[in-house]
């Protein structure tokens, strides 16, 4: 809403400069987008919130200023000269068949007008408000709309068939060519203004007039429509038609039904002034929606309960009066000023459909009085504050990942369906958008893999080849039509595990890096069990599934090298490693493990290490070696570790060399050479027997 300063002054004698007015308006609820000093003087650009249609006119803004500055508002009372012989009611009939859509319809008729360009002052005012000038009569209807905030429509009276207006619902399949030349298909529920006893649509009620009856330069007689349409009906209609106009904005937010007749009179007055002619006597006014003004009580007790600080009677009453609420003290303490028991009965003005409750009045008083006048204070907390249940687990996890060199990523979960499918387990039902912005963002990610692979792709495409990322986010899936959001950790890595530096050579990130990093975070939850297998989008030779807790527990995630088939889709030309974990069980185990953790006294005696270098057939795993040694049940064995692994020179084909380091430790006594030799002998024979291992050296 563009508010010309000099126009505003016709309604309120304000002397403050425009900048100050703008600032005061902003601090009392009318947002100000800017102030322009143009050819037509100073114009304040006000952004009126959707609950205040009354401020979509000069009068409404002037009322705000009159309340802020406590200046009288100059009301408008147009008194156009009327014909002594001809009556409007003889010239036109109005019938409202859909009172739930149209609460009031007024019609006036002006005969013998001269349609011509508007005078300069009128053109200037419209231009300052951002509207184009068309002709005097059309401009006048727009002028009144801007002045009083109430939309009007003017018809070429002679083009209206039968001069019998009917307002009804549109019929299914009905069409209307509007003023803008577009033929529109209508929907039942859209209010229609029709002529010929309802046979022909001549206007979308409250939105836009029809093309067949519009004012032209040959128009002689004019019918002024000034009506009131139901806000919800108008919003439904504009949404269906995708058509928003100055009129639909005002009716859609709730225009003032009482203003319809006044605005019509004002329009007639200006037409007589600028286009001549004769106004038929009276008005045809059908008003099925007339309602008695609502009474609302405001008490000081409620004001204090909500606002926490007071406003004196004098200010409170002055504010409510200026805004049109006509406050009257109704409590028993009427004589006492600023009584804590004070109560005011207020009357809801017809232009303030948004004020219906006591709380609405509280806001009215507070916003004009000034929100800065309510002293800030910190409330006392009466209950203990709690973090999220998984706060500690997630914080520890995040810290550890960052320590391991991973940057935290945040991705947008909207992805292309084709991409999402690369990582989607066959049984996961995709959460698809009904109204996506694009194909590339048409579904919500079913896994974190897809968006983290996307983040790696971005980096590789921008020259960053060494990337380590993690994201703590959600998977979005449907299960039986119901949404399920699962918290997951996704890890992605590619490029150098260690970059070429002054002291060390470069080394590429490999599966062991991924496994080591995952085990470092797994330690927080008691350690992961790694097992063969995993989703088919991971390389079959370099992948694993992860479990927590006891053997046989459900897998909670997978890790590995991205399969070539999928890597090719992303055009990755280097190895990309990915892992994803379901965080629910990880957090659950974190607390379980933490609460059961107990101190283990440090051994007082030194441990003894023995290395066993064995040849093993390919396919035999370290886990089998470990299991074979542990199966011996030697209590002094405290650790079995893989110290070195070698294939190639001096190793028979089909075999590999593994250096197993076993630590012996007793809590009771220093181990003797004989004891250790005995343990070693048993280990060697176990490895030979159960695994077919051959001892290489010792």
């Amino acid at each position: 809403m563009k508010v010309a300063y000099n126009w505003l002054k016709e309604f309120v004698d304000v002397t403050a400069p425009a900048e100050e007015i703008a600032s005061r308006l902003a601090l009392s609820g009318t947002n100000i987008a800017g102030i322009e000093n143009g050819a037509h003087g100073t114009v304040i650009d006000a952004e009126v919130s959707s609950n205040r249609p009354d401020c979509l006119g000069m009068l409404g803004i002037a009322r705000e200023i009159s309340a802020i500055y406590q200046l009288p508002l100059k009301h408008i009372a147009p008194r156009p000269a009327e014909s002594r012989s001809a009556k409007a009611s003889d010239a036109v009939s109005v019938k409202i068949e859909a009172p739930e859509l149209c609460g009031r319809f007024t019609a006036r008729v002006v005969r013998g007008v001269k349609i011509q360009p508007s005078p300069t002052w009128l053109k200037n005012r419209l231009e300052a408000a951002g509207m184009a000038s068309i002709s005097n009569v059309v401009d006048i209807s727009n002028y009144v709309l801007l002045e009083l905030g109430h939309p009007l429509h003017t018809f070429d009276f002679d083009l209206l068939r039968n001069h019998s207006i009917v307002v009804r619902c549109a019929k299914a399949g009905e069409k209307l060519k509007t003023l803008d030349g577009i033929e529109r298909s209508l929907d039942p529920g859209i209010p229609l203004v029709c002529d010929a006893d309802g046979a022909r649509a001549v206007g979308l009620g409250g939105i836009m007039g029809g093309g067949e009856t519009e004012i032209s330069f040959s128009t002689k007689n004019v019918l002024i429509e000034c009506a009131w349409f139901d806000p919800v009906a108008i919003r439904r209609a504009t949404r269906f038609l995708k058509l928003h106009t100055e009129a639909s904005t005002r009716f859609g937010r709730g225009a003032d039904p009482e203003m319809a007749e006044t605005a019509s009179r004002r329009c007639a007055e200006l037409i007589l002034q600028l286009a001549g002619g004769e106004l038929l006597a009276g008005v045809v006014d059908v008003y099925p929606g007339k309602r008695a003004a609502k009474k609302i009580t405001l008490t000081r007790a409620e004001f204090l309960r909500v606002m926490g600080a007071d406003v004196p009677d004098k200010d409170l009453e002055a504010i409510l009066s200026a805004l049109g609420f006509a406050p009257v003290r109704v409590d028993d303490n009427r004589g006492a000023a600023n009584s804590l028991l004070a109560a005011w009965e207020c009357t809801q003005p017809s232009w303030r459909a948004d004020v219906e409750r006591e709380i609405d009045l509280v806001e009215e008083v507070a916003r004009i009085y000034g929100l800065g006048n309510f002293p800030p204070r910190l409330p006392v907390a009466r209950i203990a504050a709690a973090r999220l249940p998984h706060h500690e687990a997630e914080t520890r996890l995040r810290e550890r990942l960052i320590g391991l060199g991973y940057h935290e990523a945040i991705t947008i979960p909207h992805v292309a369906e084709e991409r999402n499918d690369l990582f989607r387990p066959p049984d996961a039902q995709v959460a698809k958008l009904a109204n996506p912005l694009s194909e590339e963002a048409s579904v919500l990610k079913s896994t974190g893999f897809v968006t983290l692979a996307g983040a790696i792709e971005w980096n590789l495409n921008h020259g960053q080849r060494n990337v380590r990322l993690f994201e703590i986010g959600r998977q979005y899936r449907l299960v039986d039509g119901k949404p399920v959001e699962t918290r997951v950790l996704t890890i992605g890595a590619t490029g150098a595990a260690r970059e070429q530096g002054l002291y060390d050579p470069a080394r590429e990130y490999n599966f062991a890096d991924l496994k080591g990093d995952l085990d470092a975070i797994g330690a927080l939850s008691g350690g992961f069990r790694w097992e063969d297998g995993g989703p088919e989008w991971l390389n079959a030779a370099k992948r694993g599934t992860l479990r927590l807790g006891q053997e046989g527990n459900q897998p909670i995630g997978a890790a590995g090298l991205l399969a070539k088939r999928v890597a090719d889709k992303f055009k990755f030309r280097q190895d990309v490693f990915l892992a994803e974990l379901d965080l629910g069980p990880v957090y659950c185990m974190f607390y379980g493990v933490k609460n059961n953790r107990r101190y283990e006294p440090l051994p007082r005696l030194p441990g003894v290490e023995r290395d066993f270098s064995v040849f093993l057939e390919d396919g035999k795993t370290f886990a089998e070696v470990k299991k074979a040694i542990e199966a011996l049940g030697i209590p002094e064995v405290t650790s079995v570790a893989a110290a070195d692994l070698f294939r190639g020179k001096n190793v028979p084909a089909g075999k590999y060399s593994l250096l197993v380091r076993v630590t012996f430790q007793s809590r009771e006594a220093t181990l003797t050479e004989a004891q250790i030799n005995d343990f070693s002998g048993r280990i060697i024979s176990a490895l030979e027997k159960t695994l077919g291992a051959s001892l290489r050296a010792r």
Binding site: I359, A385, A386
Partner: protein
């Protein structure tokens, strides 16, 4: 080196000294001998040998104690003792100083090739970073946690009831036009429409359904609006919702809480103001402004022109908030006559952009490691 004819190896009687004067002369001679020895420059090893010779178990000081002091006649003991102490102190101080000076000199003399070049990097162990959005979330959570706000979360896929209706936004409400919404495509027969929440406010309703007042929570999370992406719009962004409901919460408590938060976050010098505004789920509703952190609220940029960040107004709009509209309590079976409260919804991405001068919201979600590393 001590001479063979060392007087300290003999007793005073053997030296024929029986008077104070002769004792003084003997001490003077010893002192001269010491001073002449230490006058010659030594390396650290040389100083150690001298220390043994003079202060060691069989050194000169011990000899004087054994040969001069102990067998001396009573009348001379006092003067010998005093002279000995004075001499011993002199030897200790001089030797310690000389040794320290010698060590310092030795280090300085170390060859340049062994010296570290401090301008070279150490061994770089790459460390990751918290995402900036996460950092801002954490900072805000900590501030509100410190004044009694618990942290809760809620689903991102919501029903229209929680996202709109229960927040006093019925269908066809004009506010819905400002929150262009993503809807999910549901299989046939699935119950009700589902949408991506357009704000974190649905969690207000979910929280109040579960708890009775007093309620004091903040809700960090992702929200979605169907806006075409550009430098200031992303169809996913982050909010932190706040809600406090109790039997005695007033507007003054609300402004006090917000004021406290902003001063913690932006610093004590920041100025704040509340502008009346409109949201269907709060009343009175406000927009909250802070004095522009770029121009200090003057509206003039350092370069002299209009500050581009606040467009010369000196104020920056931060977020919307207000007292919870009594109509909302009706949806969660709270008695609007008995409770009151406030709610706010802070846009995190915008806040981070303001605080760190980031000019493109998309940068947050590209996850370029060069961007992430800038905020360790």
């Amino acid at each position: 080196m001590p001479t063979v004819n060392n007087p300290t190896e003999k007793t005073l009687a053997e030296l024929g000294a029986a008077s104070r004067e002769e004792v003084a002369r003997l001490f003077a001679e010893v002192r001269t001998r010491f001073d002449s020895q230490i006058a010659r420059p030594q390396d650290a090893h040389g100083w150690t040998i001298l220390r043994v010779l003079w202060l060691g178990r069989k050194g000169v000081v011990t000899q004087i104690t054994e040969n001069w002091l102990k067998p001396a006649p009573l009348e001379l003991k006092r003067v010998i003792g005093e002279s000995l102490n004075s001499f011993k102190e002199h030897v200790e101080v001089v030797l310690a100083d000389a040794l320290a000076a010698s060590e310092a000199g030795a280090e300085a003399a170390l060859s340049a090739k062994d010296r570290v070049d401090l301008s070279l990097p150490g061994v770089i162990r790459p460390v990751g970073t918290h995402h900036l959005i996460r950092q801002v979330f954490q900072e805000i959570e900590d501030i509100f946690f410190s004044i009694g706000f618990s942290v809760v979360e809620g689903p991102e896929i919501e029903t229209p009831y929680y996202n709109f209706e229960a927040l006093n936004i019925p269908e066809f409400h004009p506010v819905r036009d400002d929150m262009d919404t993503f809807y999910l495509e549901l299989p046939k027969g699935a119950p009700g429409p589902l949408l991506l929440r357009t704000h974190t406010s649905p969690v207000q309703i979910r929280t109040m359904e579960k708890r009775q007042p007093p309620v004091r929570v903040i809700v960090p999370g992702k929200v979605y609006r169907r806006d075409n992406p550009d430098a200031t719009h992303s169809f996913m962004f982050h909010q932190i919702e706040g809600l406090a409901v109790d039997s005695d919460i007033t507007f003054c408590d609300f402004t006090g809480t917000i004021d406290y938060f902003v001063k913690q976050f932006f610093g004590e010098s920041v100025k704040t103001r509340f502008r009346p505004s409109y949201f269907p789920f709060t009343e009175p509703s406000v927009e909250f402004d802070v004095s522009c952190v770029f121009c200090g609220g003057s509206g003039t940029a350092n370069s002299g022109g209009t500050c581009g960040k606040c467009k010369g107004s000196g104020w920056i709009e931060l977020f919307g908030a207000g007292m919870v509209d009594p109509a909302v309590y009706g949806f969660v079976n709270y008695d609007p006559k008995k409770v009151s409260g406030f709610a706010f919804g802070i846009g995190i991405d915008r806040l981070a952009m303001l605080k760190y001068g980031i000019d493109d919201i998309q940068a947050f979600f590209q996850n370029d490691v060069r961007f992430l590393r800038q905020f360790p």
